[in-house]
Symmetry: C2
Subunit: 219 residues, 2 copies
């Protein structure tokens, strides 16, 4: 979804609504009244409706005909399903990246990976988390497949709220970095199957790390 400079209210609204959902301001299951949203953003119902449908296409909200929109209520099964799907997509990106990355892209990925080693030794989870986004984004881009990259990035954005505390788990930082190392090594060597397996392994561990954590937050 090439988010260019759209000045249209619909696009702005879609972003605002998605943000409100992702930030937790609109909680899971909450009904999204069109009039309420229109009033809140000082626009008419028309762009609100279009924005809601746009956000719905990413799965963040659900629209039932003649019954209105609501923030998609994700139960534990759905969440696990999405994590699994994301693991597969990330692994596919890593596989393609191993096949398609240019030498420059490979070098940049390796450089980022080495920089992140410092964040591990310095125990800087925030910096690591930020660079982690870059790390995965570089792999999406390196797959040289816009369709796949967009799907993967979209899923990651959608799951972001459930991963906030990911690197807070004690000892997770060095583990993550080691798993990244395996992915990087396979990609640099151009070993597609290994890159796939390594990324899948990494994402599976991320998922289980989440699950240990998720007894706190209900859906």
């Amino acid at each position: 979804m090439a988010t260019r400079t759209d000045k249209t209210l619909t696009e702005q609204l879609a972003i605002n609504i998605a943000d409100a959902v992702l930030s937790g301001e609109f909680v899971s299951g909450q009904r999204l009244d069109e009039q309420m949203l229109a009033q809140r953003f000082n626009v008419s119902r028309t762009p609100v409706r279009e924005a809601l449908r746009h956000v719905a296409s990413s799965g963040l909200v659900e629209i039932r005909p003649r019954r209105g929109a609501a923030v998609a209520s994700i139960d534990k099964n759905d969440l696990e399903m999405l994590f699994v799907a994301m693991g597969e997509l990330e692994a596919a990106c890593a596989r393609l990246a191993a096949l398609s990355m240019t030498p420059i892209e490979r070098r940049r990925l390796n450089a980022l990976h080495e920089k992140m080693a410092d964040y591990v030794t310095g125990d800087l989870p925030e910096a690591f988390a930020e660079s982690n986004l870059d790390f995965h984004a570089q792999i999406y881009a390196g797959a040289h497949n816009r369709a796949l990259a967009e799907m993967t990035a979209g899923l990651r954005r959608r799951l972001a709220p459930y991963r906030r505390a990911q690197f807070r788990t004690p000892g997770r930082l060095p583990h993550s970095h080691a798993e990244h190392g395996a992915v990087v090594a396979a990609i640099l060597a151009g070993h597609a199957a290994e890159a796939h397996a390594a990324m899948l392994h990494h994402m599976t561990l991320v998922e289980s790390a989440f699950e240990e954590f998720s007894s706190a937050s209900a859906a």
Copy 2:
């Protein structure tokens, strides 16, 4: 996309427009004037706009702000990209199917595969093509991951027009069936990595079969 019985004009329109694009009635690059569509379907512009945005979310049409909608023009690079992405998604589904299919699902898949053998010996490409849809659909379902299954099925639908003549290529039928056999064997045995590799192999061959064919149809 749970297509329930929506009587809303928007939903009907979205289906009609998508069909018109997929059937080739609306050709690649053609502008889709809102008024024109509204007149054609005897509705107002409002449901047309919503339907267009819905169809756009599947990639069939492109909407540029303040410049209207047009049938997505897919060049050769885009098409190859989509085929690659679909291969990866199919492979992911096969991988998960190997891990998650129930005994009943495995038996049904095997039964279908054996039935398709008859279509090969009988040289019935139409019957094979029809069952081929089932074959892949069963694998999507067997992955037990709705998110992934929907993405894959969506991509397949979108690429369907470019695969029409797939099984017309002489000698393609037995090849396809043999590749299917490798996939089925891996899934039945629960060998995830093999299922992944076999499906990837299959889809890559499908893609190249298409490429041999595609010198005729321009984008």
